[in-house]
Symmetry: C2
């Protein structure tokens, strides 16, 4: 299991105050699948059984039917690349209906799988918050979702200042819910700089890049981050708050200097 998780020292806030604890989060690892020298997709995944993942992915996409078709599988865990060569090494037809293709993903290395992400800038805003404010926002957030209350099958996102929620969205996809918020802001000329982003979903690397581009200094999640989420938040000067449970507990995984008013215990 060691390979799949990573421990981080976080600032945990409870009713008793603030303390440092070690929390374990799941690893997130970008893997590019290369079929007969053609990069097919970059998957964000857990770094285990990458050969099975590759074969299963290609099989699900109809690009591989049986084991007999496989000539060679090379897993490069260092670079995050799995190359699979088939016996009949024909090119994939130009009109094959790929779901996702990364046209330039192959040689890009593991840290950034999109040039847009590589361009992410540190977030400068000095917006501060406190555990009481976060608990109040999350309470408002969790009562905002009609569809969640009806179905338990939806993600939500919100934009807030430290005092109140300004905008709320829902979607079956955690990325979509956040994109709907940023899209509305762009359409209605509402500034996102210095605001708080709240999400019901897991915080993976992509969410951090998305938020950094919009100048979001504080992300709050009811769920947990991945290890890459914590690292990128740290690098981009984003305060990453996760595992918010009612008004009982929250963890600050990165840049806790924006969280004030919590007395040390």
């Amino acid at each position: 299991m060691e390979n799949q998780v990573e421990g981080f020292l976080v600032s945990q806030f409870t009713q008793e105050g603030r303390r440092s604890v070690e929390e374990t989060v799941a690893k997130e690892f970008p893997v590019t699948i290369v079929l007969n020298n053609q990069a097919i997709v970059t998957l964000l995944c857990s770094p285990k059984n990458l050969d099975c993942l590759t074969v299963g992915y290609l099989s699900s996409e109809g690009l591989l039917k049986s084991k007999d078709e496989i000539k060679k599988i090379m897993v490069d865990e260092q670079r995050g690349v799995v190359q699979l060569d088939t016996v009949a090494a024909q090119e994939i037809a130009q009109d094959f209906p790929f779901k996702w293709i990364i046209t330039s993903g192959g040689g890009r290395g593991a840290s950034f799988y999109s040039a847009a992400d590589a361009a992410s800038q540190k977030v400068k805003f000095e917006t501060k918050t406190s555990p009481d404010e976060v608990f109040a926002l999350v309470n408002e957030f969790q009562h905002g979702s009609e569809v969640y209350l009806a179905t338990h099958g939806i993600h939500s996102a919100a934009l807030a200042d430290c005092k109140r929620i300004l905008m709320f969205s829902e979607d079956i996809g955690r990325h979509n819910a956040i994109d709907k918020i940023f899209g509305k802001c762009l359409l209605e000329n509402i500034p996102t700089n210095g605001k708080v982003l709240i999400t019901s979903g897991r915080i993976s690397s992509e969410i951090l890049h998305k938020a950094a581009k919009k100048g979001i200094p504080i992300i709050v999640s009811i769920s947990v981050p991945t290890n890459l989420g914590v690292k990128i938040a740290t690098d981009l000067d984003i305060t990453l708050i996760g595992s918010v449970k009612g008004s009982r507990k929250m963890n600050v995984y990165a840049n806790d200097w924006r969280v004030i008013n919590g007395k040390h215990v």
Copy 2:
């Protein structure tokens, strides 16, 4: 909210026996984003604020910077297509590092967003199960995930016959966890036909197509399905069991004829 949810009559099994109840699930809707006449991506989303979703997606991908660049947005809810034209209608550079491109998604209509999915066949296997078997499998499943127990930030999947779990996998992505199972089966010549697939994640349309290709007649989820998940399960003769809570409750959303031994109440 009506537009975002759909009610289904499900067979609910509890300690008291079996009864029909209406359950509400979230709608899942494929939307293809077309930027200056070029299909960029098909997103599976909730059918609301599709203009915000499109603008937010393009903005997150670095393809749109400000409202001033937008010439026109046309949302076609019927076909599931959003067209956005920019003022400067230049082509996107060939070497732009798209994350996901659908090369032939634009004209495909809403029901199937991949030709591989359109080819899914009905699952013929008459495998039967019972609530007691499902509760026992889920109990075993939920104790199988070391990483989940450590992090609460991971999905798991398993292949089972009706008596026991044959194979278990974990990944931060719900699709990846299932692909790892199917990949291992392919590599080790383990038949999937007639087996049970168990997942911690939401059951969306893609999971059904993936399972149908592998001849899986019964899918069990701790989470809930989307409306498209229920519809496709019904069409593909897959028994869809969701919302399994301990040994207290489970809902059969489609093809309950494979679930026996539940007395009516």
